[in-house]
């Protein structure tokens, strides 16, 4: 079986920048994303919407499968725009797929 390696961009962030990230995904024409509701802890303390049901404590996670090139552009954009003011981390992982076309940037 012939597998190709592409990147998975992972962004874990506070709810406040959800729309921003969706817009970013859209502008960069990423072919898709998967979204989770998570809880967590990091530099900005514990963020647990279940324990304290205030929207401010909601954490979300995006996974975006894309080519390496786009992956780096997305992660850079997130870092530049949000790392200073918001609770957010971002990282990359390698994933192996069968059909590369599915994860090419969208053509409008």
């Amino acid at each position: 079986m012939e597998l190709k390696t592409i990147k998975k961009v992972v962004i874990i962030a506070e709810l406040a920048i959800k729309t921003d990230i969706l817009n970013l995904i859209n502008e960069m024409q990423a072919p898709g994303y998967t979204l989770y509701e998570v809880r967590g802890m990091g530099e900005r303390g514990v963020r647990d919407y279940e324990a304290t049901p205030l929207e401010y404590f909601k954490n979300i996670k995006f996974e975006i499968l894309v080519d390496e090139d786009l992956a780096e552009r997305i992660i850079t954009a997130v870092m530049e725009n949000y790392f200073e003011d918001y609770a957010v981390i971002a990282y990359l992982e390698d994933v192996q797929i069968l059909r590369r076309e599915k994860f090419k940037p969208r053509q409008n």
Binding site: E14, A16, E50, T52, L54
Partner: protein
């Protein structure tokens, strides 16, 4: 004085307040008692829908008068002024930076719906009428507080930070005017107003009969949440914690004076005091994450939830009612 103590005790020994205390105790003892966030959201939705609808029906019963207009204007003005006062106190008594002082101001200029609802339940046990437009006043006390706090806070931003987020972004407007709490409150009010008595007859089995029970569940959750955040107060200095106690008193005093001036009913004066005394922990912190992300909600939220909210619920409401009554009788007499 004796009367005040009686009122205070009656308030304490009512199911909603006791469920709040139960929640706090459970949180302090680290029990696994828990109200899911989903249920909590449903309960807020219910409370807003019910209170909005009742207010609308009440409005449909009375004629719109000049007082209404003045009252609405006064509410917005108070909500714009209170952040200034709060900001002044904080900057004078603590070392808090401008950004966070302004943010806290926005919280105290705005309101807490549950405190308001607890106030209406309190008034009901004392058989006090209040004007339906008080709910519109409440709705009008969010936007001015956020804008006022923002104006104060932004003077503390660096040039770079200032550029990143323009003051009057479409985001701000959306957050402030189309937020779900405003929508559901004003929407239900309008529906109550339009459907009037016929609507009330159809809805009473939903919005009146089980109302206190739902409020109890919500207060239980509030107790859990407040109890869980008490720890965080330890890192606060005494002046800030004291602010959490005296600021509602300042707010309530202003509210009572204004209410008496406008000529509200005794119930109305009390509720305006409660609105001024209470501080936001849902709408304002969420909105500020969008328009003032430099402010740290881990300062404002524990202060509001851990000090001001319990203070208002446990002691404030009967106190404000008593003070309003004294004032109201004086005015009547004079």
């Amino acid at each position: 004085m004796d009367n005040l103590i009686n009122i205070a005790i009656t308030n304490l020994i009512s199911p909603p307040i006791l469920f709040f205390i139960l929640g706090t105790v459970a949180a302090r003892l680290k029990s696994d008692l828990d109200i899911s966030a989903g249920l909590g959201k449903t309960l807020s939705l219910y409370l807003m829908l019910a209170i909005g609808f009742k207010g609308g029906v009440e409005l449909s019963r009375s004629e719109l008068s000049l007082t209404t207009g003045i009252a609405l204007l006064a509410a917005a003005t108070l909500s714009f002024l209170l952040p200034l006062i709060a900001y002044g106190f904080i900057r004078l008594t603590t070392k808090m930076d401008r950004v966070n002082a302004g943010a806290i101001g926005a919280h105290y200029g705005s309101i807490s719906l549950v405190t308001f609802v607890a106030g209406t339940a309190f008034l009901e046990t004392h058989a006090e009428y209040f004007e339906g437009f008080l709910i519109v006043m409440m709705v009008l006390m969010e936007a001015p507080a956020i804008i006022s706090g923002l104006l104060l806070a932004r003077r503390g931003l660096t040039v770079a930070q200032d550029k990143r987020k323009p003051m009057l972004s479409p985001k701000l407007l959306r957050e402030v005017f189309f937020g779900w709490t405003i929508f559901i409150l004003l929407g239900s009010l309008l529906i109550g107003f339009l459907t009037g008595e016929r609507g009330m007859a159809a809805m009473a089995g939903f919005i009146s009969l089980p109302f206190i029970g739902f409020l109890c569940l919500f207060m239980l959750e509030m107790g859990l949440v407040a109890g869980r955040r008490l720890e965080e107060l330890q890192k606060f200095g005494l002046p800030l914690i004291l602010f959490g106690f005296y600021m509602p008193l300042v707010g309530a005093s202003l509210g009572i004076l204004t209410g008496l001036l406008i000529g509200l009913s005794l119930g109305g004066v009390t509720l305006l005091a409660i609105l001024c005394a209470s501080a936001s922990y849902i709408v304002v912190p969420a909105a500020l994450r969008h328009v003032l992300p430099q402010a740290n909600p881990s300062i404002s939220v524990p202060l509001v939830l851990g000090v001001t909210f319990p203070f208002n619920i446990l002691l404030g409401i009967p106190l404000y009612y008593h003070a309003a009554k004294v004032g109201w009788l004086l005015v009547r007499a004079g």
